[in-house]
């Protein structure tokens, strides 16, 4: 640390303020959802909002501690931290099950979920590992080690079982992709056995992860929309099959990218950029059409099985029951919402949407603030994620960059899956909405994650290249 610098001199204020705004909105939503007329005081510890305030206080206190410690400690101690979180993941398996999963380590009446903190441990070790290898010469060994770092906690989490956090761990694949650790060496090892072939790299192997995710997500969205019929109040008697909306959305996105790329890219690159976008759009639309056609031509029982898997099936006691009610809550918000504390479907008292203060907290927020509110919320997340990536890319140290990317991708996953299940785009997987959902483990782990990032960033100039 240079002389005369205060603790927060180089802190990224834009990210910090966004984080604080989210905490405030989240706290207000928890207060609204869990509001109890008998204890209207927000500091009432017997109510959830009182507890949440305590968690917020602890989180900010932990953030202060993080800021007091020299940032180098995370790189140096990444292995013990990782091992410690693994240890917690192992011992949590021997605790009695709560709601069907051994996920809680109780400290008195307060419980924490080791899985939440395992994300930080894994992120730090992955950053440490990638910063030590030269990815230009990646080989099978580096690929396998990187994957093992992720896989060990994933397996332990699946044993709890906690499907949500398990899925979130695949976000590390995107970080590996950004850093050039791909499955290319594995593919090359197979392909190059064919006589006459000597590839140094394959495009498919290199971009395997984003392609895989685009394919999976597009397929799921197409399937979810294939049974829907869109109707517009201003266009009576017009019924649009849901599948067209997917293609239309893809087209709009392609158009936006085209405009964006023509603005940012160099003149000589423009032709290539246009080709990439057109090709990408055609392939995506083609894939979506194929999935839709394939689904429509299936027999009913086959459809049933897929629909059941995706939670689309009408099953009053199943998961779709929850999602349908969550969607009703979100959709009934209208443009300006029903007003603060006026949520009728998703308040805790009415109990139509279970877990409306934790996993489904987006519901009451969307119901109370309408599209105006959800637009602001999505924009806040977009701003935060873009800001983190900007921060990541300005780091001199690889460790810092990799860590920043893990934070971005974990937040993105939580954002995408949590809101996705509220709007019918994702199956119901119980994971919290960062900074919003009630619960100590999630608020603390996300805060610590955020403060480590802020600390690393504020000290980025100290690191020699």
């Amino acid at each position: 640390m240079r002389k005369g610098d205060s603790l927060v001199a180089h802190m990224d204020w834009a990210l910090f303020v966004t984080y604080i705004i989210m905490l405030i909105i989240g706290m207000a939503t928890v207060y609204s959802v869990a509001y109890n007329e008998e204890h209207p005081n927000i500091f009432e510890y017997s109510e959830k909002y009182g507890k949440q305030l305590v968690w917020l206080g602890i989180s900010l206190f932990l953030g202060l501690i993080v800021f007091l410690i020299d940032s180098d400690i995370y790189r140096k101690f990444s292995v013990p931290i990782y091992m410690f979180t693994l240890f917690l993941l192992v011992i949590v398996l021997f605790t009695p099950k709560i709601n069907g999963a051994s996920a809680w380590l109780g400290i008195g009446s307060m419980g924490v979920q080791p899985a939440e903190f395992a994300k930080i441990g894994t992120a730090l070790l992955l950053a440490r590992f990638i910063s030590t290898v030269n990815v230009k010469q990646q080989n099978i060994q580096t690929v396998l080690i990187a994957n093992a770092i992720i896989l060990v906690p994933m397996v332990l989490i699946l044993l709890q079982p906690d499907a949500g956090t398990f899925v979130v761990f695949t976000s590390f694949l995107f970080v590996m992709y950004r850093e050039g650790i791909t499955y290319d060496p594995l593919i090359l090892r197979v392909i190059n056995r064919i006589p006459g072939i000597r590839f140094k790299e394959t495009w498919v192997g290199g971009h395997f992860i984003p392609i895989l995710f685009v394919v999976v997500i597009l397929s799921i969205v197409t399937l979810l929309m294939s049974n829907e019929v869109l109707e517009f109040s201003f266009l009576p008697n017009v019924k649009v099959p849901g599948f067209y909306s997917v293609v239309a959305t893809l087209f709009i996105i392609a158009l936006l990218f085209l405009i964006f790329l023509r603005v940012v890219s160099a003149r000589r690159e423009r032709g290539r950029a246009t080709l990439v976008v057109v090709l990408g759009f055609s392939m995506a639309a083609g894939l979506s059409s194929m999935v839709n056609y394939g689904f429509q031509s299936l027999r009913q029982h086959q459809k049933d099985r897929i629909e059941l898997f995706l939670g689309m099936k009408e099953d009053p006691n199943g998961k779709d029951y929850n999602r349908n009610r969550a969607m009703a809550a979100v959709g009934s918000g209208g443009f300006l919402g029903k007003g603060y504390r006026e949520a009728s479907v998703s308040s805790v008292r009415s109990n139509h949407v279970p877990e409306s203060e934790t996993d489904f907290i987006f519901c009451p927020f969307a119901e109370e603030w309408g599209f105006a509110g959800t637009f602001v919320l999505v924009s806040l997340y977009m701003f935060m994620l873009v800001r983190i990536i900007i921060i990541a890319e300005r780091q001199r140290a690889v460790f810092n960059r990799v860590y920043a990317y893990t934070v971005a991708m974990i937040l993105f996953y939580h954002f995408a899956i949590n809101i996705g299940m509220n709007i019918g785009f994702a199956p119901v997987i119980g994971i919290p909405l960062p900074f919003f959902s009630y619960g100590g483990s999630s608020i603390m782990s996300f805060s610590v994650m955020m403060f480590i990032l802020l600390k690393l960033d504020s000290q980025r100039r100290d690191v020699l290249q």
Partner: protein, 620 residues
């Protein structure tokens, strides 16, 4: 490998999800209405509060239809814990099997819902909903059961309001309530399954007034279907409003007396106040005890019995039975003949029994005496003069012209058409016209001699007792009437507008005097057919009728009004298959009714006893 460019892949990926989510949220929240409806379905419930129905008062202010509180035993299956069926069955006085059967019946009764999208059939029955397990319990029953319900979670009592009839009379006037049918629900969304609706009588005619306004509370419910708070602080709620009270022209004491008189006989009495058209009494015998037809439980028990009874107690005879009017019809033919100028009051006819039978009496030398004696040959002559006025060469064409004119007069008396009386179940009766006879005999194939029985109110003519009473009222008024009606005021308002409009007969006022004089002679002069209607200090004007019919003994009928100079009551009495003519049964019955109404007490005890004690063979 350009790794730095990969940041754009990731950025694009994130932004794409952001854009897709924003547009999806816009579609769901702003464009698509289905989720608003779904949310209402889930959480916002309309609670309807059905107000008690409007009550009915008679003309003296006595409450004749009121409401009574009943209880339902409700059941919520989801809240039932460890039900001891044997104990429970003992508490409600059923067997265990009956309790189990009732459970199944409730589930079955809710039916199933067919989802077109999935092709699945799901039962409508929901465990978290409350269903009436036992309906319409009395206070005594519920007082026995309710204290023990704490031992049976999932069961509780609920208050409902039902009709009650403090007087056992006038069942055919007020009608009854019953559960709405699906068609009625489809037609009027006021109703929901389980609601009651007027099925007959005044309850049906004044349904829209009596039902009042339902109170609606919008509430937010929890997943367990409990109300948790009122929606939008009750901004959209409306309070329930009871229907306005109806005041009837009916005098319940007179009605009760009429029912007492007709006990043991099939028949009707209709009494009207001529100056207003208000119906004072409308007796249909036999009738039923109105409290039998309250609530689903009673109706399902008694309705089949009542509907299968050969004496048709559910039939409102004064409104729906179309009888030949018999000799009472002669009054009308007299008036028409006078108006047409085909006879004068001094017109006389020798009683020649060769054309038509008649009883033994001195020949009528004038119209008033003809009425007194009810002379059949006289009215053949009168009717011939009305029908055959020699306006056309052909006797058939001439009859057609004459009958047309006759029909016009009859319609002006409200005959052959359905009166606009405020009750359901009215019939029009029949005044045969040209078209009727043309269809029957062929065009120009009939003349007076073919249709002559209508001159004495037999044959093709039918009218209802209500119309007969109205004819009496028209004669009392000397030429005009208000449509007979029951309700003289609805809440603060008077009767419906159609009852404030005077209708006029096509007979000039001056012609009524001689007919009324004839009606006086019927009762007060030796040789009159209605001598048994005589009252000492009230002058009754009446006319008897003895109606031959293919169903056995002659019907006995009598129409009258009283007092002669300032008529307060016009009455028609019709007694089916009475052994003996109009003078024997109907006339004394009418006089008793008149005395009861005008004097509030009956002095002719002997006459009263004879009538009340008469029980005709078909009623035994």
């Amino acid at each position: 490998m350009n790794l730095d460019a990969r940041r754009y892949v990731i950025l694009a990926f994130i932004l794409m999800v952001g854009i897709i989510y924003t547009s999806r949220l816009f579609y769901m929240q702003v464009v698509d209405d289905q989720w608003v409806l779904r949310a209402q379905e889930i959480a916002e419930k309309r609670w309807e509060i059905t107000p008690p129905r409007g009550v009915l008062f008679d003309r003296t202010g006595k409450k004749i239809v009121s409401n009574r509180t009943y209880y339902n035993l409700m059941m919520v299956e989801a809240e039932i814990r460890d039900l001891d069926t044997a104990k429970f069955a003992k508490l409600i006085g059923w067997t265990r099997e009956e309790v189990c059967e009732r459970f199944k019946e409730i589930v079955r009764g809710e039916g199933t819902y067919y989802n077109k999208n999935t092709g699945k059939r799901t039962p409508n029955y929901q465990k978290i909903r409350a269903y009436p397990f036992m309906k319409e319990l009395t206070l005594e029953e519920v007082a026995r059961i309710a204290p023990h319900l704490d031992n049976f979670p999932g069961f509780y009592e609920e208050v409902t309001s039902m009709r009650s009839y403090p007087y056992a009379n006038g069942a055919n006037i007020v009608g009854y309530l019953s559960e709405v049918s699906q068609e009625e629900i489809d037609e009027d969304h006021f109703y929901k399954p389980g609601d009651n609706i007027g099925k007959a009588g005044l309850e049906r005619f004044y349904e829209k007034e009596l039902r009042g306004r339902k109170g609606i509370r919008y509430i937010v419910t929890s997943a367990m279907n409990n109300a948790i708070e009122s929606y939008a602080d009750g901004k959209y709620d409306t309070s329930a409003l009871q229907g306005p009270p109806l005041k009837l022209g009916v005098d319940i004491n007179l009605q009760a007396y009429g029912e007492k008189l007709l006990k043991g006989k099939r028949g009707c009495i209709v009494a009207i106040e001529p100056s207003t058209g208000e119906i004072l009494a409308l007796v249909s015998s036999p009738s039923y005890y109105p409290n039998l037809m309250i609530g689903k439980r009673n109706i399902s028990m008694y309705y089949p019995k009542l509907i299968l009874d050969p004496n048709t107690p559910l039939l409102p005879r004064p409104l729906a039975s179309e009888y030949p009017p018999g000799s009472t019809f002669k009054l009308l033919n007299s008036l028409i003949a006078l108006q047409e100028g085909v006879i004068t009051p001094s017109f006389g006819v020798a009683c020649n029994k060769s054309v038509v039978g008649c009883h033994n009496h001195a020949s009528a030398g004038n119209l008033a005496d003809a009425i007194k004696h009810s002379c059949n040959p006289y009215y053949y002559a009168v009717m011939r003069r009305i029908v055959q006025q020699n306006r056309k060469k052909s006797v058939f064409a001439d009859a057609e012209v004459g009958l047309n004119r006759w029909v016009d007069y009859m319609k002006s008396f409200g005959l052959g058409l359905t009166l606009e009386t405020d009750i359901t179940g009215l019939r029009p009766g029949r005044i045969p016209d040209v078209a009727f006879y043309d269809k029957w005999y062929g065009h120009h194939r009939w003349a007076f001699s073919t249709i002559r029985s209508i001159s004495i109110g037999q044959g093709e003519v039918t009218i209802t007792p209500l119309q007969m009473a109205n004819v009496a009222a028209i004669i009392a008024n000397k030429g005009w009437y208000y449509t007979p009606h029951f309700v003289k005021s609805i809440g603060e308002n008077g009767p419906l507008p159609q009852y404030r409009k005077k209708h006029f007969s096509k007979i000039d006022t001056k012609y009524y005097d001689v007919v009324i004089e004839g009606m006086r002679r019927v009762v007060y002069e030796p040789g009159g057919t209605g001598r048994r209607a005589l009252l000492k200090d009230i002058v009754i004007c009446g006319k008897t009728g003895t109606v031959q019919n293919p169903h056995g003994e002659d019907h006995s009928t009598f129409i009258a009004f009283a007092p002669m100079d300032q008529p307060k009551i016009a009455i028609a009495v019709f007694i089916e298959n009475a052994k003996g003519g109009g003078g024997l049964w109907a006339a004394p019955t009418a006089s008793l009714m008149i005395e009861k109404y005008l004097k509030r007490k009956v002095t002719e005890k002997e006459r009263e006893k004879t009538i009340i004690e008469a029980v005709f063979s078909y009623m035994r």
